[in-house]
């Protein structure tokens, strides 16, 4: 499943996710106008349609959406505190704050340098060697050929696998929620997903949702939803074949 080809139909934008990213990066589309939650909904729907959990796509999607949220947060930050409601999750608050401060510091330092440059504009100095200076010969001590091989070997080393480290956000493992939901289903035949997600961060909610989709895919549960955005009920699968029923969708 190609995340970047995900078709979006949002208020501010209609088209593939890839194009949205391009427009945002080129600053031709104001991220403040983009409903990031809408993108998440579209992705989850698409995922559900496929009926299988594509972990690679999920990983890529989480990275892209996290980046979008961060960019958006940054753009929104100077505004009213009410807009901070867009930021969350609280777990990431500290990290986000640190990075925003870091970015501010970079901006501050850049402003200082710009001012400095202005003030230093009338200091001219020679960039190249002096016209009548002797030519310098750089001599190199004998080198080991092994160093050449080592340098190429290092270049040929596989880069670390797709890393979320640069986001420094913690993604709880899907397995954690799988276990939790299986345990829950051991005690009750049905539970209300929304009630279980209550109090979680958005990222935890997303991962928990992926876990539920995984349970459904493996036939352990059936999902029921009366209408889009209505509470999702998770039912332990019995004799009935597990299926996704969102009655409003077929209408």
């Amino acid at each position: 499943m190609e995340v970047r080809e995900l078709e979006l139909d949002l208020d501010a934008f209609e088209g593939p996710f890839d194009l949205l990213l391009t427009l945002v990066l080129k600053e031709e589309l104001d991220l403040a106008e983009v409903d990031v939650a809408g993108i998440v909904v579209a992705f989850c729907e698409r995922l559900a349609e496929r009926g299988e959990l594509d972990l690679e796509a999920c990983g890529e999607f989480l990275v892209l959406v996290a980046a979008l949220l961060e960019l958006k947060a940054r753009g929104l930050f100077p505004d009213e505190e009410a807009e901070l409601l867009e930021l969350e999750p609280e777990e990431a608050a500290e990290e986000l704050a640190r990075r925003l401060a870091e970015y501010r510091r970079a901006k501050e330092a850049a402003a200082w340098l710009a001012e400095r440059l202005e003030g230093e504009g009338d200091r001219f100095f020679r960039l190249g060697p002096a016209p009548l200076a002797p030519r310098v010969e750089r001599r190199l001590a004998p080198q080991e050929p092994a160093a050449l091989g080592a340098a190429l070997l290092a270049l040929a080393a596989e880069p670390p696998a797709v890393s979320l480290a640069h986001l420094e956000l913690r993604f709880p493992p899907v397995s954690q929620f799988l276990e939790r939901f299986r345990a829950l289903l051991g005690r009750r035949r049905v539970f209300d997903l929304d009630a279980e997600l209550d109090g979680m961060t958005r990222i935890e909610q997303a991962v928990a949702f992926l876990a539920v989709l995984e349970l459904r895919r493996s036939g352990e549960v059936a999902l029921e939803q009366a209408a889009p955005f209505a509470p999702i009920r998770v039912r332990k699968a019995t004799e009935r074949r597990a299926e996704w029923t969102a009655s409003a969708r077929s209408a």
Binding site: L25, A97, R98, A106, E120, G121, P134, E158, H166
Partner: protein, 202 residues
């Protein structure tokens, strides 16, 4: 050599002769020279070099001479007097700093404060890809490669160059202002975020 000293004292005071040697070294050098480098080249002791430099700083002072001695980028170098800036501007381009964009300034600031620092780290802080900006700064000679991050396949890291210090008229990177006041901001931002998080959690 010891036997020569009295002779030298007659023809010219030794410091004056040393000062002439130092100005000769500075006029051919292609980068600022530290007192130690000057001492080594002049084959004299650093203290006497300092004395000679003080003498030259007076002689090559702004307003008194078209050649100005300045302490910059950890060493001593000649530059044109500010008085002659207009004339210099007519003859020489300023390829290094011409048209430095805001993005370039932010990036070079990050490298100056956090260097050695890799492109992914810069991108993380600025929130946008740093590739072309970094390449541009390398091209201008304001930053240079400084090894790779640890581990196999690590990203190339960058630091600022002596040219950076020269262009911005810094004696050394330690002259960059401390940004503590912004550090306080970080605490404030964190508090605000935590307050929001609490309200959401409730």
């Amino acid at each position: 050599m010891d036997g020569e000293r009295p002779l030298r004292l007659i023809t010219a005071s030794p410091v004056d002769r040393l000062a002439r040697t130092v100005e000769a070294l500075l006029v051919v050098a292609s980068q600022p020279l530290s007192a130690e480098e000057l001492a080594e080249a002049a084959d004299d002791d650093p203290e006497r070099i300092e004395t000679a430099l003080r003498l030259l700083a007076e002689r090559f002072a702004e307003g008194r001479s078209g050649i100005v001695l300045e302490h910059v980028a950890g060493g001593w170098a000649f530059r044109a007097s500010r008085e002659a800036a207009e004339a210099c501007g007519r003859l020489f381009e300023r390829p290094v700093e011409r048209g430095l964009s805001g993005a370039a300034l932010e990036t070079v600031a990050i490298v100056a404060y956090l260097g050695p620092v890799s492109r992914p780290e810069i991108a993380r802080i600025r929130g946008v890809a740093a590739d072309s900006v970094v390449a541009g700064l390398v091209e201008r000679g304001l930053i240079a490669e400084a090894g790779r991050e640890e581990g196999l396949g690590g990203a190339v890291r960058y630091r600022t160059t002596p040219l950076f210090e020269r262009v911005f008229g810094l004696e050394s990177l330690s002259q960059l202002p401390r940004l503590d006041d912004v550090g306080e901001d970080a605490a404030e931002i964190r508090e605000r975020l935590e307050a929001v998080a609490e309200r959401r959690g409730a």
